[in-house]
Symmetry: C2
Subunit: 203 residues, 2 copies
């Protein structure tokens, strides 16, 4: 196809990718080729950003102590979250596996560099949150291209942003947007619609 | 390919799509098939959302008065933004076309329904902003699939969220996340890297 045009076959596969993408919680411990990860990050740099600010900062979380601190933060938050449910909701919540923090071989804390001068704040004066929204599009881009490469990604939000910042010693004016677990998924998904129902079916 | 697996050809085209995607400001006034728009919205419903909350609300902006109110809000904000620049930056800023509000045949204000009970707040208690981040992934999904269909999308952030809410009479607990201009683009992009440079080259 001429540059920048896409045919029906591609569009059908793109939709398939979008429907198959999952939040993965069960990972195999198999290592992921760092060359692949670097490539996915480079592609993610082409995500949209307000004023072309590209304010995302993907911080790899590799050390044992760093990962332990992340897990501790998760445990504190999850315990509090459980207390927000009653009866059968609470029972079910307690059984859910909501993260792959102990198994995922690759993990990133993705921040927004709120102080970046890149783009000279074009487009973000009235709605400064668009800087963080730009980071979300980079995360989503990474998520889709990773899935296309057979990798699972799980976005863990049950964390204390300040605890994560401190554990990773990042600059004060960075805001945590997302924490990502990345690796080859353990689960087999035979039906993209069915297996999503779970928690939702209880409504 | 077996369901859920993607080959190198698809992955290369996906990357091409990501690199070709633009924030479009110059639109042709040609109408867009509403069936196509509906389809793109249905696919966007498969974007990731915290706790499967799907909190996005795409509100079509069609009426003359509504569109006039949006344009007025933009003009107020853009005038203020211009005042934030000096000298040659200000001169350049004043020449930039930052939106297609007068021409784009299809326009959406995309909100986050902050009060949605869907998903029972799973995953969003510690970081409630993840509800809005979920809306961003739906916007980004729409953006990519629209681009694959030859449509341009422009995200206009130079707006007053409260003025937009009021103009569209949406529920009070909805938050404006994005305003989208959609249509067939006027500009031809022969080199995806070159034409992005513009504003950035001045740093």
């Amino acid at each position: 196809m001429p540059g920048g045009t896409f045919d029906d076959t591609f569009r059908a596969e793109l939709e398939e990718l979008i429907r198959w993408r999952r939040d993965v919680r069960r990972f195999r411990k198999d290592e992921v080729d760092p060359v692949l990860i670097e490539h996915l990050l480079e592609v993610a740099d082409h995500a949209p950003s307000v004023g072309l600010s590209q304010p995302w900062r993907f911080v790899a979380v590799t050390g044992e102590m760093e990962r332990a601190a992340i897990i501790e933060s998760y445990e504190r938050c999850n315990k509090q979250a459980l207390q927000g449910y009653e009866g059968s909701d609470a029972d079910l919540y307690a059984t859910l596996k909501l993260e792959g923090l102990r198994e995922a071989p690759v993990q990133f804390a993705v921040f927004c560099d709120e102080a970046t001068a890149k783009g000279k704040r074009l487009g973000s004066r009235t709605m400064p949150e668009t800087l963080r929204y730009s980071v979300v599009t980079a995360v989503h881009t990474f998520w889709l291209t990773a899935r296309a490469a057979g990798l699972g990604v799980g976005w863990v939000s049950i964390l204390e942003p300040e605890a994560v910042k401190e554990a990773l010693a990042v600059p004060q004016d960075w805001t945590l947007v997302a924490y990502l677990c990345v690796g080859y998924p353990q689960e087999e998904h035979t039906d993209p619609e069915l297996e999503r129902a779970g928690w939702e079916k209880r409504e």
